[in-house]
């Protein structure tokens, strides 16, 4: 510790000067140490009273002295008092200065002292009063801060949906079509109301459709698809038959030496008609695959209900339309221009018209006892051309001997007796001198294709009358045709003069209506139920007999024998009742007593067209057919005329 060296420094610092003087700073609102402390130490101070000559006070004093010299005695006291004041001031200044020195430091004090010595009176007054220069008092106030509250509002977001589609050409087309339809509809609304009737009809149909749609559950909308599907399913099931129908041509016909065969195709049956016999068949003129079958009973004792079924070849398992009636149907006919109208004759003598477009199973128009129905079964009905008032009309023939024309006037059937079939030579004398005319019983009739007023009537007595619509009491001609009832008469579709008739007396006869005796006679060994000309050839016809056989003849090929005799119906107890050729396809349909309808395809031999000689064109058309038949007839006629 002794060897420690102590350094001694000679500084100019005043050891008595404080080192940590702190002043309050208003700016910073805190106490802050002064950065520099005055280090001056005053060892000795003596206040002098010497004033500078040129300063203000000096000049004042000099002036006073000069004036005091004038006022010596008065001013001396003043001067001395001034001097005393000055001394007092100086002393006070000194004390102030000393105080200041002690407080602040000597350097500043000297300056302050010097300044204060020169200007004692003015600053003195002000110093005493000074608070601050501007009389500024801090006065602060503060507004109320409003409490902030968050309030948000949001609109509902617009619903967004993803949508994707492909603009195909057909979608554009559909849009255009819709536009067109809308425009058309608006145009129609603007049209004058002259077409109310038609539009009402349309509206009714439209209403029906819409009402159906409204009532329906989902299933009915699929009706169209279901129909197509059913046909497709059937086609699949009966695929082989469909193929046969379309494509099969029996190749073995070449070896059969002009004989032909009938290939069985579909068989149509309906369970409700099992007990009924087929009484009438007819093809629809518009839809070549649609045919109507009338069901009833030929048995006098067993009369029951009747049915009308419409089948299509496209669907062999179920009929398209089903109508039922109280009385057995005996005959039916499609209207040529309105293929949805079917005229039907009943066993009880009534006639009715069924409208296929309407959904009901009841006839649209029906005759009654009041409106002149027949008193016996109606055996045949046939549509005629519209009369002059554009009313639909058809003819019916019945066993009561009347041929009646029915006209549809204002939704009612009005009848007109056209002819009464009076049997010649049988006017009897009844009681009281009345002349009774026994009437023949008409069983079939046919209208001429070209000559409108001409028609033939076959009767139960076996006579065929040639009649005209214009003459109501007389016949144009009478043919002693058969020994038994004439079952069917039919004009040749090509040749204007030829007709065919068949009867229960086992014969089929072909006539020229200008000649009283038949041209050709065929004996078929069994009562003939029906005979029909083929639509494709004037020399081909088919007949069916009650022993279940079908016979097809072609006069061009073989004048004396059938080209085809085939057992069509399996059971022996079954009788065939009707046959019809399809106007387009090489198909015949045959109805029998069990309510079955069988369709058969004609083999090529039966459909043979005349071969063209080399170099000659094959003419087709009615003229050729007529010529063909003419040739045959001439062959037959000449020996007769010779004879």
């Amino acid at each position: 510790e002794l060897k420690e060296e102590f350094t001694r420094i000679l500084t100019a610092n005043n050891p008595h000067a404080p080192q940590n003087i702190v002043r309050y700073s208003f700016k910073d609102r805190a106490y802050k140490p002064i950065s520099y402390v005055d280090q001056m130490a005053i060892h000795f101070s003596l206040n002098g009273n010497m004033i500078l000559k040129d300063s203000d006070e000096g000049r004042r004093q000099s002036i006073r002295l000069s004036t005091a010299a004038a006022k010596a005695p008065v001013e001396t006291s003043a001067v001395t008092s001034e001097e005393e004041e000055i001394k007092d001031e100086e002393s006070t200044e000194d004390t102030q200065a000393a105080g200041e020195e002690q407080a602040e430091g000597s350097g500043i004090a000297e300056v302050a002292e010097a300044v204060k010595a020169e200007e004692p009176p003015p600053p003195r007054v002000k110093e005493q009063k000074l608070a601050n220069q501007f009389n500024f008092i801090e006065r602060a106030s503060r507004t109320l801060n409003n409490p902030m509250r968050e309030r948000a509002c949001q609109s509902e977001p617009t619903p967004c949906k993803n949508f994707s589609a492909t603009a195909n050409q057909w979608k554009i087309y559909d849009a255009y079509v819709e536009e067109l339809q809308k425009m058309e509809r608006s145009k129609e609304k603007e049209k004058p109301k002259a077409q109310i009737a038609k539009r009402e009809e349309e509206k009714k149909k439209g209403r029906k459709l819409t009402s159906l749609e409204l009532q329906s559950d989902d299933i009915t909308k699929i009706s169209k698809a279901a129909k197509i599907m059913e046909r497709m399913v059937n086609q699949n099931t009966f695929d082989d038959i469909a193929q046969d129908f379309k494509y099969f041509e029996d190749a073995s016909d070449e070896y059969r030496d002009q004989q032909g065969t009938l290939l069985p195709l579909w068989k149509f049956q309906y369970d409700k008609t099992k007990r009924l016999a087929v009484t009438a068949i007819s093809w629809n003129p518009k839809y070549k695959d649609l045919f109507a079958v009338g069901y009833g009973s030929y048995d006098f004792m067993k009369q029951g209900q009747g049915m009308l079924l419409l089948y299509t070849m496209k669907n062999p398992s179920f009929p398209e339309y089903v109508f039922s009636s109280e009385s057995g149907i005996m005959c039916l006919d499609f209207h040529n221009d309105h293929p949805y109208l079917v005229a039907v004759g009943f066993y009880d003598g009534n006639v009715a018209i069924y409208n296929l477009k309407k959904a009901t199973s009841q006839p649209s128009y029906k005759s009654s006892a009041k409106s002149g129905k027949h008193t016996e079964p109606v055996w045949q009905v046939k549509w005629q051309k519209d009369d002059m008032d554009n009313n639909l009309n058809f003819f019916s023939v019945s066993s009561d001997g009347r041929i009646v024309s029915w006209t549809l006037v204002k939704n009612e059937l009005v009848h007109t007796d056209v002819i009464k079939l009076s049997v010649e030579g049988t006017t009897m004398q009844g009681p009281e001198g009345l002349q009774l005319q026994t009437l023949g019983c008409g069983t079939s009739f046919d209208f001429h294709k070209k000559i409108d007023y001409l028609f033939l009537v076959g009767t139960e007595e076996g006579k065929i009358y040639k009649c005209s619509k214009c003459y109501s009491s007389q016949f144009l001609d009478v043919f002693e045709a058969h020994h038994m009832a004439v079952d069917s008469v039919s004009w040749n579709p090509y040749h204007l003069k030829v007709f065919i008739s068949c009867s229960s007396d086992w014969t089929v006869k072909i006539w020229d209506h200008t000649i009283k005796t038949p041209m050709f006679i065929y004996d078929l060994n069994s009562a003939v139920g029906d005979v029909a000309w083929s639509p494709y050839s004037s020399t081909v016809f088919a007949a069916v007999t009650t022993d279940g056989k079908a016979h097809v003849f072609d006069l061009n090929i073989n004048k004396y024998e059938a080209l085809c005799t085939q057992l069509v119906v399996a059971k022996k107890k079954n009788k065939i009742t009707h046959i019809q050729f399809n106007p387009v396809y090489p198909v015949v349909i045959i109805g029998d007593e069990r309510g079955h309808v069988t369709s058969l395809k004609l083999s090529p031999n039966l459909r043979r067209m005349p071969k063209a000689k080399k170099g000659q064109e094959v003419k087709k058309g009615p003229e050729v057919e007529i010529a063909k038949l003419d040739k045959l007839l001439n062959l037959v006629r000449e020996p007769e005329s010779k004879a």
Partner: protein, 95 residues
Amino acid sequence: AEVEETLKRIQAHKGVIATMVINAEGIPIRTTLDNSTTVQYGSLLHQLTMKARSTVRDIDPQNDLTFLRIRSKKHEIMIAPDKEYLLIVIQNPCE
């Protein structure tokens, strides 16, 4: 109704395995098969029918698809499209 009868007849026809009705969105409405198979058939055949129809109409917009038949080794699927529905029948054609 009549349509119901027709559908019943189709179902009862020889060789028919199943019948279904699918609506425009591919959802089966009526079926004679179990649910899972029906749903599968429905969605797949619906797409196929849409594609077929689109094809037919693209070629000629005035044309439209009336029937679609798919013949496979085991059976035949027949589809009859309608405006809003599809009728599908699976049949085993007897040969």
